[in-house]
Symmetry: C2
Subunit: 422 residues, 2 copies
């Protein structure tokens, strides 16, 4: 099999399908989504059988338990996929939305119309549910999709793809609207990310290594999500209970997620007052603390692992029950620290002070900036996007949780009556 030729073929088919899809009515796209949801449920036995092949192979090749868990399908997860598709069907169609349509001095009426990007390449790792999710988001936003899942999930992904193809065709759409790459050859990814003629944007979903590798080599634009080194700053005018609740939730609600807090900054004035009761809660969750000298001194009796933070700690995404803590003079030092070490994902301030809340919102350059809320809320569903294909830590095109709108662009539309330029 000639990989280059195979990928060009997929690309050409995707371009063609994208043109059909861009002019497809909302109802037809929704019919396809609901049909695919039904087919996934109906195909449960087959999906479990195919998934089992992947799991057996994974065990043989020595995948660890966490990876096997991500790879595994069960009835509940299949229902979850179907439910996700139904939710996307229920979302408003972003395509065709016209905004800012106004008359200009020339007499022309000029506005913007939201349009699909065209063809989207999605590269992801072991979770097979991404196949359904990503296909559905692309379909609803009018984009053709080329999907490349992890090689360890190839049987599961092909089985899900079969449901998608059947659903598309039964709704009268070309099956090439969603194409799942059938080879596990790594060269396919290399081709996919370097064919701007056929692919408009790449969305990689997975670990930092995958994303860096892809964006380092892509000639197609990449919507990327690098790390999430999220900060919470507790101001000396914070409400004590809110501060403790938020700092506890942001660290311990889930550890392995990009919107978990990794560094806690506390104003010197109320550091002891906040840190002592907060640490008592962390201790129950066996959170390891990595402290600046001042917080180390305050927390010297901590009932858990506590060490002095190194410079590297401020720059680390733990994704684990580990927290670095720094006492700062006040909001300005907090903003300085965040500007230096944040990955630009999500930062929060806890304060009752009006001016400081405004200063934090204005000066922190991250994709989400919060006042008196846990960083764990940085999420497409919580933000009302309905679904998310990822969280962008880029500044260009789209920033933060990426929903349907992030998979579209806007073109100018101009209505005249025979207007010519003078």
């Amino acid at each position: 099999m000639d990989i280059k030729q195979y990928m060009v073929e997929l690309g050409m088919q995707a371009r063609k399908a994208a043109r059909v899809l861009s002019r497809t009515e909302t109802s037809q796209k929704n019919t396809a989504l609901l049909k695919i949801a039904d087919l996934l449920i109906e195909s449960t036995p087959k999906l479990l059988r195919e998934n089992n092949k992947d799991l057996e192979a994974g065990k043989k090749s020595g995948l660890d338990d966490a990876l096997l868990d991500r790879l595994a399908l069960n009835e509940e997860r299949i229902q979850g996929m179907a439910e996700g598709l139904r939710q996307i069907a229920a979302l408003a169609d972003p395509v065709g939305e016209v905004s800012d349509l106004k008359y200009q001095p020339s007499g022309l009426q000029i506005g913007k119309m939201r349009v699909p990007l065209g063809v989207i390449g999605i590269i992801y790792e072991s979770r097979p549910n991404v196949t359904a999710d990503a296909a559905a988001l692309c379909l609803k936003s009018g984009n053709a999709a080329i999907l490349r899942g992890g090689s360890e999930a190839i049987h599961s992904n092909q089985a899900i793809a079969a449901c998608i193809v059947q659903g598309l065709e039964s709704a009268g759409l070309p099956k090439e609207v969603v194409q799942v790459i059938e080879t596990t050859d790594r060269d396919a990814v290399g081709e996919l990310i370097t064919m701007p003629k056929y692919v408009d944007v790449i969305v990689p979903r997975g670990g930092k290594g995958l994303i860096e590798r892809i964006s380092g080599n892509a000639s197609v634009p990449v919507i990327k999500h690098l790390n999430g080194i999220c900060h919470v700053y507790i101001d000396d005018q914070a409400d004590k209970q809110k501060a403790i609740n938020i700092a506890f939730n942001a660290k311990t609600h889930r550890y392995g997620v990009c919107n978990a807090m990794e560094t806690l900054l506390v104003s010197a004035k109320n550091a002891a007052d906040i840190l002592l009761p907060l640490a008592a809660q962390y201790a129950q969750k066996q959170v390891e603390l990595r402290c600046c000298p001042t917080s180390m001194e305050i927390l010297k009796d901590y009932a858990g692992i506590i060490v002095l933070a190194t410079e590297e700690d401020w720059d680390t995404e733990y994704l684990a029950p580990i927290l670095s803590i720094k006492v700062v003079a006040g909001i300005n030092e907090a903003i300085e620290h965040i500007s230096k070490f944040s990955s630009g994902h999500t930062e929060a301030i806890v304060t009752e002070n009006y001016s400081r809340s405004r200063q934090f919102i204005a000066e922190i350059d991250s994709s989400s900036v919060m006042v008196n809320a846990s960083t764990r809320f940085a999420d497409g569903f919580e933000y009302g996007l309905g679904a998310e294909i990822g969280i962008s830590t880029d500044k260009i095109h789209v920033r933060g949780p990426v929903g349907l709108e992030g998979l579209t662009s806007q073109k100018f539309i101009v209505f005249g009556d025979g207007h010519i330029r003078q």
Copy 2:
């Protein structure tokens, strides 16, 4: 001089200046813009003197007349630059604008705030006025700028840069908000486009060669403008006089511009009725016609150069008094032809038919799609953007004329009252 080190230094200074600028009030940015405008006028003798050095050197090195004309400053052009700055000062500040601020089911109030991109690198060719324009657009949109003009304009650009620096400082802003690269060494460009740590986006302004070279080598995102192969399709239900006026204006109003029509498509039903009177007008402007066999037959008595079009003609941006003409069966063939050959810049339909106007608007995937208007209107000023830094033929981030908003991004802002995730 170590170019790499010099560029990193510029980059670090730009980052620092960008942070200051991002929190600068609108009035202070406007003060700087108006001061720079005044300084340009006051410095007219010096600007003309420095410009003369460039012109002399250009003549010696054999620059052609068109290039020398673009390079030349005179009192009127300097006044034009100053006027441009005053217009940008008068525009609304895009930074800090909050949209879609809504309560979500969690009780959090979530919206988007418009923020600067950070540091913008502008690479341009001979026109020295771009130095003032680009600096002003970046300044107003809260972005630090690193400017790299053509080496043939180095004295003019440095003289303009001196006014900018003085204006910034007199308004209390760091002079590093706008930095003009002082060396003509080509390696400086290579560094600028490969330092994503210090530069957030590159805007190249110039010929296709420059832009392809830059986007082929850049690791920083590029807002690019490739060619403009713009089409006008005259439907058989077009108003004859509107059709002739638009097709004449779109081709002959200016030849060397990206929004000029390069290919005219005419419905077979009214081809002779439109083409004969239209060609009589083109003949007066000595427009060369490159025709499909059918239009060749209709226009065989054309009083000017007329040849059969080759396949390559449909794919060529003439930027000259040359027009390719094709007779098509109707709107569907027109859309097919445009989908195949358009550069995605601007296309127009002339028709009085409601459904066809809607079909054209929906199905044409170009940055501007027009009904009954000349393609020459595709322009930031005409679109009410107030000013433009270029026209993007990309789909990602920004499409079509790029004004202040295209130089910004949006971050999510979240207001809570102690909210934690359940």
